[in-house]
Amino acid sequence: MDSALAVHRLHFAFTVTYHYIFPQLTMGLALLIVILKTIALRTGDERYNDAARFWAKIFAINFAMGVVTGIPMEFQFGTNWARFSKAVGGVLGQTLAMEGVFSFFLESTFLGLFVYGEKRLSPRMHWLSAFLVFAGSWMSGFFIIATDAWMQHPTGYKLGSDGTVQLDSFWGLLLNPWTFWQYLHNMTGAVVTASIVMSSIGAYYLLSGKFNEYARIFVRTGVIAGTLACLIMLFPTGDQQGAMVTRHQPVTLSAMEGLFDSTEGAPIALVGQPDTDKMTLDNPILVPKMLSFLTYRRWGAEVKGLKDFPRDQWPDNIPLLYYSYHIMVGLGTMLILLMLLCSYSLWRSTLYDARGLLWALMLALPFPYIATTAGWMTAELGRQPWLIYGLMRTADGDSSRVSAANGLFTLIGFMGLYLLFGILFLFLVHREIEHGPHTEVVPVQGVAQ
C-alpha cells in the first residue's frame, strides 16, 4: 500500500464499488415503479399507486446516495487518473459529457416532479415523470457502460502525433459491440437486484403478517420480473459477454477459469484455488469438457491456458479475479434456482403460504448485490494490466504528481464518510420498511413537504 499507483487504484475501486450499491437498485426499481404505475393507470387499482409510492420513498433515499457518491467518480478521472484523462479525454469525454447533458438534467428534473408533484400532477403526467426518471437512469447507465466498454475494447479512435488518443468515429465509439452485451447484462442485473429486493421485502411482510395486500403485490411483481431477469442474465447476455471476453481478452478468460495449461476438452472448475506461483489449481472440483463447450460450443475444443500467454499480459491479481468470477456465477445460479422455485410456487398459488420459500426469498436480499459487485470486479480485474485494453497500461495512467500520502489521506477520508453514510442509509431505509406502504396520498417525505 505504499505505492501511489496502488493507492489510486484502491481509491477508485473503493468509491466506485460503494457507489454502485445504489444505482443498481434505482435503475432496476425505476423500471418496476413504471410497471406498478402502469398497472395502476390501466386498472385504476389504487393499491398499485400506494405500492409505487412506497417504493418511490426507498428509491429517493437510494437515488440521493447514488447522486452524492457518483460525483466523486467524475472528479477522480481528473484527480487520480490525470495522465489517463489527458490522453483519452477527447474520446471518453464524449460519453461522460453526454451523460451529464442528456441524463442528469432529465433525471433531476423529473425525479423532483415525480417525488414532490403527485398532488399537483394528473395521473398521466405523474406516470410520465416516473417513465422519464426511468429513461434518464437507463440512459445514464448506457453512457457509463459505453465508457467502460471502450476501456475494455477500444473502438473508433486514432492515435494523435502528440501521444493523445483521439476520436476517429463517433458511431464507432457509441456502437462498440462490447457496449451492447455489457449494457444488457448490466441493466438486467439491476432489474435482478430490484426484483429481489422488492420480493424480499414482500416476503418479510408476509412472514411477519404485516401489510398483507401490498406484500403479495411486492412478491408477485418481484418474482415474475426477477425470474425473467435472472434467465436473461444467463442467456443470452451472460453467454455473449463471455463470448466477447473469449474473443478479445483470451488471457482474461484463462485467468477467470483458473486454467493454466492449454487443454483440449477443457473442464470447468466449480471450486478450487489458483496458485500462480506453482501454476496449479488446488483442490479442484471439475466438470469435464464443460469449459470447451461453453466457450466454443464444441466438447473437444482447445482452450488456451495461462502458461501460453506472456506473463506481462496476465491480469495482475488472478486469485481475486478468479474468485470474483466464481462468486458471480455461483450466486447467479443460486438466484436462478430460487426464482424458478418461487415462480412455480406462484403459478401453483402456494407461494404466499410457503414459509420455507418466503424465508429463502427474504434472506436472498444481499446476494444480488454481491453478485453484481463480483461481476464488476471480474470485468475490471480482468481488464488488468491494461487501463485501456491493449492501448494503455494501468501503471501509465495515474496522476504522477499526487503522492501516495495524499491519495491515502483522501481514501481514508472517503472510507470514514461512507461508513457513516452506510449506517445512516440502513437506519433510514429500515424506518421506511417498518413504516410500510399506506393508502393516503402524501408526497414522499422530502424538502417540499
Binding site: 433515499i61 440521493a64 446516495m65 447522486v67 452524492v68 460525483i71 466523486p72 467524475e74 472528479f75 478521472f77 481528473g78 484527480t79 487520480n80 490525470a82 495522465r83 489517463f84 484523462s85 489527458k86 490522453a87 479525454g89 477527447g90 474520446v91 469525454g93 464524449q94 461522460l96 459529457a97 453526454m98 451523460e99 451529464g100 447533458v101 442528456f102 438534467f105 432529465l106 433531476s108 428534473t109 425525479l111 423532483g112 416532479l113 414532490y116 494523435g160 493523445t164 483521439q166 476520436l167 496522476s399 504522477s400 504528481r401 499526487v402 503522492s403 495524499n406 483522501t410 477520508g413 464518510l417 453514510f421 445512516l424 433510514l428 424506518r431 417525505q445 422530502g446 424538502v447 417540499a448
Partner: protein
C-alpha cells in the same frame, strides 16, 4: 475557431452553474442567520428543494463538457488542486445528504444537526469555489508536461511558492462567500414572506457593503497579481463590457432591492456574478490555466483542447442536448414558481 467556441460554451455552463447553484449555496449560508424557527428553515429549504439537485447538475455537466473539450486542462487542474477538490467533493456530499435527510425525521436535534451541516458546507463550498477562481487567475507552477501539484497552503504569499490558499485566493474566496450570501439572500427574499423575508432584507442590505468592498479589493489586486489582465484589457478594450456588466449588476441589486423589486434584484445579482466570472475569463484569455513560473508553460485554449474532429462532433449533440436541458429547467422553475407557502 472551434476551440474558442468551446471555451465560450464551457464558460457559459460554469456561469449558469454559479448563478443557479449559487443561490441555493447562498440560501444555505444565510438560512442560519435569517431563519430562526423550524417553519422558517423549512420555508428556505422548500424554496430550493425541487431545484437544487438540478442546479448542481450544471456543475457535473459543465465538468463533463470541460473534460471532453479541454482534457489537458481537466487532468492538470484536477490533479494539481487535488486536496482542495477532494474537500469540495466531501462538502458536496455532506450538503446533499443534509438537504435530503433533514425532513425524514421530525426531531429538533436531528433537524438542527443537518441545518448546521447544510449551512457550514454551503459556506465552505462558496469559499473554495472563490479560491479556485483566484488560483486560475493567479496561475499555478505548471511544468512543461502540463502538470503541477499544489499543497493547501505554504507561506500565504501569492508568489512562485504559493499554495492553493494565499492571501489573494483567500480574498477571492471571501468575495465569493459574500457574493453568494447576497445572491442567496435575494433568492430567499423573492421566495418567502413574513418575518423571514424581513430579516433577509436587513441581512441583504448589510452584506451588500461587504460584497462591494471585496469586489473593489479583488479587482485591484487581480491586476497586480496577473499581468495578462492588463494586457488583455489594453489590447481589446471592448472587453470592458464584462466589468461594466458586473458593476451594473452590483449597483442594480442594491437599488432594486431597496425599491422592493425582489425578482429584479435577484436577476441583477445574477448579472453581477456573470459579469465577474466573464471579466476573469476574458482577462486570463487565451490562457485557461496560466503558469506563475514560466508563461510559456501555461495551458491555453488551443494547447489544452481535444482534437478538432471530436470538438465538431460534440457540437452536434451538445446543442440539442442543452436546448432540452434548458427546457426542463424552465419547466421545473415554472412548475414551482411563486412564493413558498407553509
Amino acid at each position: 475557431m472551434i476551440q474558442v467556441t468551446w471555451f465560450c460554451l464551457v464558460a457559459i455552463m460554469i456561469a449558469v452553474y454559479v448563478v443557479l447553484d449559487g443561490f441555493d449555496l447562498g440560501a444555505g449560508i444565510v438560512h442560519l442567520f435569517v431563519a430562526k424557527t423550524d417553519p422558517e428553515r423549512r420555508q428556505v429549504l422548500r424554496s430550493i428543494g425541487p431545484v437544487w439537485d438540478g442546479n448542481e447538475v450544471w456543475l457535473l455537466a459543465g465538468g463533463g463538457t470541460l473534460y471532453f473539450a479541454f482534457p489537458a486542462l481537466y487532468a492538470s487542474a484536477f490533479s494539481g488542486f487535488y486536496l482542495a477538490l477532494m474537500m469540495v467533493l466531501w462538502l458536496l456530499i455532506l450538503r446533499g445528504i443534509a438537504i435530503e435527510l433533514r425532513s425524514h425525521i421530525e426531531s429538533p436535534m436531528w433537524q438542527s444537526f443537518w441545518d448546521l451541516l447544510f449551512g457550514g458546507s454551503s459556506a465552505l463550498l462558496a469559499i473554495l469555489f472563490g479560491a479556485a477562481l483566484g488560483n486560475v487567475v493567479r496561475g499555478v507552477p505548471l511544468d512543461h508536461d502540463g502538470f503541477f501539484f499544489l499543497p493547501l497552503w505554504t507561506n500565504l504569499m501569492p508568489g512562485k511558492d504559493a499554495g492553493i490558499v494565499d492571501w489573494y485566493t483567500l480574498l477571492t474566496g471571501c468575495a465569493a462567500f459574500a457574493a453568494l450570501a447576497a445572491h442567496g439572500c435575494y433568492w430567499v427574499i423573492y421566495k418567502t414572506i413574513g418575518d423571514l423575508q424581513t430579516r433577509a432584507r436587513r441581512f441583504g442590505s448589510q452584506v451588500w457593503w461587504v460584497v462591494a468592498a471585496l469586489t473593489a479589493g479583488i479587482t485591484l489586486s487581480s491586476f497586480q497579481i496577473q499581468s495578462n489582465l492588463n494586457m488583455q484589457y489594453q489590447v481589446h478594450p471592448w472587453g470592458y463590457i464584462f466589468p461594466i456588466l458586473a458593476a451594473a449588476g452590483l449597483i442594480g441589486m442594491r437599488i432594486l432591492s431597496l425599491r422592493g423589486k425582489d425578482l429584479a434584484a435577484f436577476l441583477a445579482s445574477s448579472l453581477y456574478l456573470i459579469g465577474m466570472l466573464t471579466s476573469a475569463a476574458f482577462g486570463v484569455f487565451p490562457y485557461v490555466l496560466p503558469s506563475n513560473v514560466d508563461p510559456a508553460a501555461g495551458l491555453t485554449v488551443t494547447n489544452a483542447a481535444a482534437a478538432e474532429y471530436g470538438l465538431y462532433i460534440g457540437l452536434a449533440w451538445w446543442i440539442p442536448g442543452m436546448i432540452l436541458a434548458a427546457l426542463y429547467s424552465f419547466f421545473v422553475y415554472r412548475h414551482f414558481s411563486g412564493k413558498v407557502v407553509d
